[in-house]
Symmetry: C2
Subunit: 156 residues, 2 copies
DNA sequence: CCAGTGAGTAGGTTTTCTGGACCCACCATA
DNA sequence: TATGGTGGGTCCAGAAAACCTACTCACTGG
């Protein structure tokens, strides 16, 4: 947790500080798939019960999940994604797309997500302003704080 | 690293097994920004030097970075993203977008990325087939292996 | 000769993960 | 009433990873 003295200020780092611990994004995956209960999460995520409990607390604290009772007597809770949690789905989609492309010979994808346009989802990141797919060469980074330079492609 | 017995098979998990360790994606961020040298990475990423060395080895082994000499005598290396590394940029973009939206009051973004269409990049994940932005409600998951069910929204 | 830089490696301490056992409340059934 | 099963956790000791400091090596510049 302790950041070494002044690394580059960056929303990527800040986001990873919240959801970058092991299992956090897998918990979110399951919750987004509709698996909301502790024991289900233990099985599907593969995390020790201990760690899962800690991750759930953290995700709830961060406003990514909400904890809701689905039974009094005995008290039982389920976890649901908030809007902030659903807003992380693009991260899950892009991670999955990369794994499907680079970690497998195509054809044995363990999970396919269907888009309601009728096709299998192939997520693509586009620029909201112009609508075209984003390519590395088209980007120019502008660090806001002083002293943080970039060089080469994607440079400022 | 040791997976508990049979968690859900999933490309998200497999991708995170490669780039999910602390600092890995920040290293990739820096390399994509054009900062290629060890000491620069130490400063900008904020990782301890030995951890950084381990991450670089791992990313090179995974085919995400390549190590290239830029000076013999003394031997000095720099790290460049491969195509597989560049293909991870969408993950970085979506992480940054989430942090900008949810972790800050808009206006103090620490880094802005400009798209060469002339606007600030606001990344948006779309379905490559139909071109529309992806919303949670439009997705249906189909686990391939048996026994892995999903429930509720995004269910199969 | 001395200081400084770039790219690491080495060692010892602290933190985190891990696997397993354990706990409590409840339900089913016999 | 005992007996077992489930859901949702907590606790603990050992293993692994991260952290920090220091050190090395090969130069370069003055």
């Amino acid at each position: 947790m302790a950041a070494r003295k002044d690394p580059r200020p960056c929303s990527i780092a800040d986001t990873l500080a919240v959801v970058g611990e092991k299992y956090s994004l897998l918990v979110l995956r399951e919750v987004c798939l509709g698996n909301r209960r502790f024991d289900q999460l233990v099985r599907n995520v593969g995390a020790p019960r201990d760690i899962l409990a800690a991750r759930l607390r953290r995700l709830v604290d961060a406003g990514i999940l909400t904890k809701r009772p689905y039974s009094e007597r005995p008290q039982r809770f389920e976890y649901l994604p908030t809007q902030a949690g659903l807003d992380l789905e693009p991260v899950l989609m892009t991670l999955m797309a990369w794994g499907d492309r680079h970690l497998r010979d195509s054809g044995d994808r363990p999970m396919v997500i269907e888009h309601n346009c009728g096709h299998d989802l192939l997520p693509q990141v586009t620029c909201a302003a112009c609508g075209t797919p984003v390519r590395h060469e088209d980007l120019t980074a502008h660090p806001h704080a002083e002293g943080w330079t970039v060089a080469g492609p994607t440079a400022a």
